[in-house]
């Protein structure tokens, strides 16, 4: 199970990775979107939404916790930043909300035990060049059979080797 590593040079490129990923996601998929504040998690999900055909732009769900968007495939965008306990996450009822949607969970790595064991982890970080402020490293880690099976397709759409 190999992680894919990508470098993006601008928010536009980060968005482009999200848009490209839309080609391989299916209803029921879970994307765990990890990375510090400002790493580009929402930017990435915005690209994903574009790729899924969500007509209007999406906004960060930090305060609303979860937002749903109709696209070619429904997108449920969740942000765990304001949650402290697993109970609060379960209260969102994601299992019902996102059963037939693509679920993108910002900060999902803090609650990975409560999300589907099969998921794609997308980890964003600044760098590697500290002077290139807009550069980001993206690590895509397939977890579970269904994502490992899509690894080649994944590499192809995001243009990684």
């Amino acid at each position: 199970m190999n992680d894919l590593a990508l470098l993006t040079r601008s928010p536009t490129e980060t968005r482009g990775v999200g848009r490209a990923l839309a080609a391989v996601v299916r209803p029921g998929d879970v994307l765990v979107v990890a990375g510090d504040l400002g790493a580009g998690k929402t930017t990435f999900v915005q690209g994903l939404a574009e790729g899924l055909g969500v007509p209007d732009g999406i906004v960060s769900p930090t305060f609303t916790l979860a937002r749903e968007y109709e696209g070619r495939v429904r997108l449920v965008h969740v942000d765990l930043y304001r949650l402290d306990r697993a109970q609060e996450l379960l209260d969102l009822g994601l299992e019902d909300l996102a059963d037939d949607a693509v679920l993108a969970v910002e900060w999902g790595d803090v609650a990975v035990a409560y999300l589907a064991p099969e998921h794609l982890e997308v980890r964003l970080a600044a760098g590697p060049d500290a002077d290139a402020l807009e550069h980001r490293t993206l690590a895509l880690a397939p977890r579970g059979r269904s994502w490992v099976a899509r690894q080649d397709a994944l590499a192809a759409v995001v243009g990684a080797g």
Partner: protein, 230 residues
């Protein structure tokens, strides 16, 4: 003695009205997980058609899961609120019991398997005994493969029931002494809940309406793993 029975642990909304253990009416709405929208109107319709006023209820019985989180919240909260406002007791019954009980004449081990999402199942095993079933395992959650391994080790005839069977059929196929109970035994039965609850009411086995809790099985009181990150 009138009892209202509610189970919302699966995508189904099930309500039944029992009178001394016999069912006067039952409503089952299957499939779309619209518990919040459907439960109260179903109760209202059932009471209206059976000409029962809520004030006449002697108890409310509720399936407490394990099952779908949102559904359980709706069912258990509704039961608690009704019990508290009507000042009547609650009878809490685990939902897998309500799948097993209608199979009490099956004459073999019964494995109840409910879809837990995230590619896991809730499961419990039962044996028929005179007048009902007796649970012979803990209520558990995990991959279907774990249950299959346990059943394989037991090497006995088993009847598989519940909505977790079909999505995991390929795994259960490796059991050569297993049979599926079929679609009519996929979800908890509100009729079974009336029957089980009536016995418990007669024995005064109530749960305080303040302490009734859904049985989630998955730990939910844990803190999220923020570490130093916020």
């Amino acid at each position: 003695m009138l009892v209202l029975a509610i189970d919302t642990a699966t995508p189904q909304v099930a309500v039944a009205l029992g009178d001394d253990g016999r069912v006067r009416g039952e409503i089952r709405l299957v499939g779309r997980r619209r518990h919040a929208e459907q439960l109260a109107p179903a109760i209202a319709y059932l009471c209206e058609q059976t000409r029962v006023r809520l004030e006449q209820l002697a108890a409310v019985a509720v399936g407490i899961g394990p099952g779908l989180f949102t559904g359980l919240r709706v069912g258990v909260t509704t039961a608690k609120v009704m019990a508290q406002t009507l000042r009547i007791p609650v009878v809490a019954v685990p939902s897998p019991d309500l799948v097993a009980y209608p199979l009490r004449h099956a004459g073999r081990l019964i494995a109840v398997v409910l879809d837990a999402r995230r590619r896991e199942v809730f499961h419990a095993r039962y044996r028929p005994v005179p007048g009902g079933v007796q649970r012979v395992s803990d209520y558990a959650v995990g991959p279907a493969a774990d249950l299959v391994a346990e059943l394989e080790a037991g090497a006995e005839e088993v009847l598989l029931a519940g909505d977790g069977v079909e999505p995991n059929r390929s795994q259960f196929a490796s059991l050569d002494r297993a049979e599926e109970a079929g679609p009519e035994f996929e979800v908890p039965s509100a009729t079974a809940l009336v029957e089980l609850a009536t016995g418990r009411i007669e024995r005064e086995e109530f749960t305080s309406s303040w302490s009734v809790q859904p049985m989630y099985l998955r730990a939910s009181d844990a803190e999220l793993a923020w570490g130093q990150r916020r």
